[in-house]
Symmetry: C2
Subunit: 190 residues, 2 copies
């Protein structure tokens, strides 16, 4: 699916404004709590324009998830460090940094999944796709670092990642930060 990676030759500022506004509101308040009317009002876009670009609200949600995914992939690309091990640590350090920020409201993928029970739903599929990418990123970095059990350790890192994003949202950020650090130490040292 190369839907969000330069598919459309015309960027369409209105569409971008809708997606940007939707991302901000969905993340801050949840998908079902934010209506189309509010999105188009804050984006300064007519309703017909919205439905010209997105066939339904669900498709907007799917686009929101896909856009979050590409944003995160781009962010990780900027974190590439000298060694795979350092890159891995930079990724988790970044998540901790982000999770300690003011507007943090948890992981958009996990939060949105909570509002879409059906695993076969397109939104859920988009979420699953990003999870696979995350896990593969961890595995590749571990393997490049010469880790003897990259596959299983990647699964563990995904589990730590999930605990991290939930913890920063629900618990005391400095404590979670220290907990993540300690967990990574115990999990990565053999």
């Amino acid at each position: 699916m190369t839907a969000e990676t330069a598919k459309d030759p015309r960027p369409s500022p209105a569409r971008a404004r809708v997606l940007e506004t939707a991302a901000r509101l969905f993340y801050a308040e949840g998908v079902h709590s934010v209506g189309i009317d509010r999105i188009i009002a804050e984006a300064g876009v007519a309703k017909a324009t919205f439905y010209h670009h997105f066939p339904s609200k669900d498709e907007l949600v799917r686009a929101y998830i896909a856009e979050q995914g590409s944003t995160q992939r781009a962010m990780v690309a900027t974190l590439r460090a000298a060694s795979p091990r350092e890159t891995l640590e930079a990724v988790f350090a970044f998540m901790c940094e982000f999770g300690s920020g003011a507007g943090y409201r948890g992981c958009p993928f996990v939060n949105t999944a909570a509002e879409y029970p059906d695993p076969a739903h397109p939104v859920r599929r988009a979420i699953a796709e990003h999870r696979r990418w995350s896990r593969d990123l961890y595995r590749d970095l571990l393997a490049a670092d010469g880790h003897p059990d990259a596959e299983r350790t990647a699964d563990i890192l995904l589990l730590v990642r999930d605990g991290l994003v939930v913890g920063f949202d629900l618990d005391d950020p400095p404590t979670v930060r220290a907990t993540v650090q300690e967990t990574l130490t115990r999990v990565l040292t053999l």
Copy 2:
């Protein structure tokens, strides 16, 4: 807050039916996706009766969260094993068992928190309360087992718990089960 622990001398079957139905639907489909009308219809209760027992939907959600908490506390009480260490393992084994079940849809606390952004909201406070109880349970069991760093390890176990409940919902259960086992091994052995 002793609201759910034998406060009312009259159990009120109608109230219990509402709470039971709400718990089932909220868990399976999410809080905002399930309306009052549907709950009272499936519970076989009049609307006036519902609003006689619960002042608002938000209060029903709070009661749902509180009830989930007491249910989990009761469940843990039945898992007490010979040693604290075995009890701890039984708790995580039970979560894995439950997470592998057919109707599993993630953690009601985490899922509901995703729909209530405001940390000051009563629902979020009830969720925070249960998280404190979980962390304290881990800490007490670790301390009773003679663990040298019960406090920090309890934080880690809470993080593992969060990763566990998310993973069983979004990923392949058998894989997550093995991952949890391996994570606990790496995290608990010093």
